[in-house]
């Protein structure tokens, strides 16, 4: 019983339904995309236009002035490099840990399976903000050797590689759901062919799951790219995007206008710059990625 217009017999009924649907979806999409459009439109204006009340969305004078300011203030090279490294570390190690755990929870029968699943739900449910103080203390005086791991990527590497990183619970849940829906014959066939479970996992299960793996990788990478929580807590001195963009303060510009909102515009321009790599990845993988939503991970 799909919700569609097939059951409406009359043609006008069909058209009205389709029009209403179109309007609703258009409204939603407009609401979602509007901030980004606004950001970009205001960032490509010249400061003259900002002060000019007759200029609406479309700028009268195009200028990349604000983008230049943003680039200068952002230390673009070092912040991109550092954010890229952090995001890569986090996403790869989370992918590794979460896939292993999810597969075991989904397809391998062992004692304590339900208990461990409850533990992953627990990890999902407790927001890291709640134990932020303990996390800070933990990594500031790590183990009995009291090593200071603040400003060291090792802290977040440990968290991610051991399955308790940012939103790890969610990834484990999604992957587990995916693995549960794979055909049950796969392991049996592999076993008959003489493969050990580990071999089965790497040679058969993983290639079947590459859509879901890519999705988890993308989520993890993007969320770490724009992350504020771990940046503020564990990497306060490292030049992450969070630190750099939050630190943008513009008191006067050399164009001589009273720019009380220059900070806002430059920060938004910096956000746009920061999001460009993500948008490129997203658009490139879009088909691949939307397919995972479409098939919801069914292998066939």
């Amino acid at each position: 019983m799909q919700l569609n217009s097939d059951r409406l017999k009359s043609k006008t009924g069909k058209t009205v339904f389709n029009i209403l649907l179109f309007l609703l979806l258009f409204g939603f999409c407009f609401l979602i995309l509007q901030p980004f459009v606004l950001k970009i439109m205001s960032a490509i204006k010249d400061p003259i236009d900002i002060n000019d009340k007759t200029v609406g969305l479309i700028p009268k004078h195009f200028s990349l002035y604000y983008f230049e300011l943003a680039l200068n203030k952002m230390n673009i090279l070092s912040s991109t490099l550092i954010s890229f490294l952090l995001s890569l570390i986090v996403s790869v190690s989370q992918l590794f840990a979460c896939t292993l755990t999810a597969y075991a929870l989904a397809r391998l029968k062992f004692k304590g399976r339900n208990l461990i699943f409850l533990c992953t739900i627990l990890v999902l449910l407790v927001p890291p903000q709640a134990y932020s103080t303990a996390m800070y203390m933990n990594f500031r005086f790590f183990t009995f050797l009291e090593i200071n791991l603040i400003n060291n990527p090792l802290s977040i590497f440990l968290l991610s590689a051991l399955g308790v990183g940012f939103k790890s619970g969610l990834y484990i849940y999604l992957l587990r759901n995916y693995f549960i829906n794979l055909p049950k014959e796969l392991e049996n066939a592999a076993f008959v062919d003489g493969a050990s479970p580990i071999r089965t996992f790497f040679s058969i299960i993983l290639p079947n799951a590459n859509v879901m793996l890519a999705t988890v990788f993308l989520f993890s990478f993007c969320w770490q790219w724009t992350d504020t929580f771990y940046s503020d807590l564990l990497f306060p001195q490292m030049e992450t995007f969070n630190k750099v963009i939050s630190g943008i303060q513009i008191f006067s510009t050399d164009k001589g206008f009273y720019d009380s909102y220059a900070t806002t515009i430059v920060q938004n321009a910096a956000c746009v710059i920061m999001l460009i790599p993500i948008m490129i990845i997203f658009l490139a993988c879009q088909k691949f990625f939307i397919k995972s939503i479409a098939t919801s991970g069914l292998a066939n």
Binding site: F28, L31, L33, V164, F191, S196, P197, L298
Partner: protein
Amino acid sequence: MKKTPKSKSLDSLQKQTAYLFVAPFLAGFLLLFLPMIAKTVFFAFNNIKLSGDGYTTTFVGIDNFYQATMVNPDFKGQLILALRTLATELPTVLVLSLFVAVILNMNFKGVTAVKAIFFVPVLLATGIVLKVEQSSGILTQLQEITSVTTGTDIDMAQFTAITSLLERINLSPQIMDVIVSAANGIYNVLNSCGVQIFIFLAGLQTIPTALHEAASVEGCTAWEFFWKVTLPILSPIILVNAFYTVVDIFTKPTNTFFNFTDRVAFYDNNFGVATAMNVIYLVVVALILFLVWFAFRKKIYYENL
């Protein structure tokens, strides 16, 4: 088939390697996660002083909790605000994402593009981008610059328009408040829906087409099908989504409660009291989640999980 002593069955093989597979997670859970939670509870009962090399803890019993609830002027307000936000956003997000998921489950021209658009806020409107939007929104309101499009909160003009319209109908101010905040909040709600839509979509796809056909043979309308078949099948997913939404609302950088406790911790240098606040918050949320689960547990339909 006789099992020879040397070969093992698939089940026992799986049992052995299973522990290997979950080893990373177990290590993280036992060595990192649990100790941090335990430390959090421990800190809540202590006074923490950071010295050059380490930190010292002095046991103060429930003094931190007393300070949090009785002495600190802002805590109660912040907690109530956080809970009220939760109460309004949670059902809205769930209902809206279910609605959108049902629509996106249809096949119409451009459905892929719409799916992509709904996904944009999940990846892009998070973290620092959200923080910047919120802070610049406040700035715009403070300076009352309505003609400057700074790419921020878009509500100002709509806010006044909706309010004046509703005033003419002579609605009671409370109802008007709810409606206006719902209308304004639609942007926030839409942005919070992304992952939930994904999860619901995945769930909707698991409804076998055989069920659709059987239902239409029996003469079931789409509406009846939704309530009698789709919702029960989705009920465990709705619960999971509810839990995830609760957590998601709390972990947004726009959630002021944790900003507040962070300030207490790092600026007032009062780690103990801040931790006590966090613990109170966690307990309250856990209670709410438990109540939700308890209220709905009879209605959840489990099918060979």
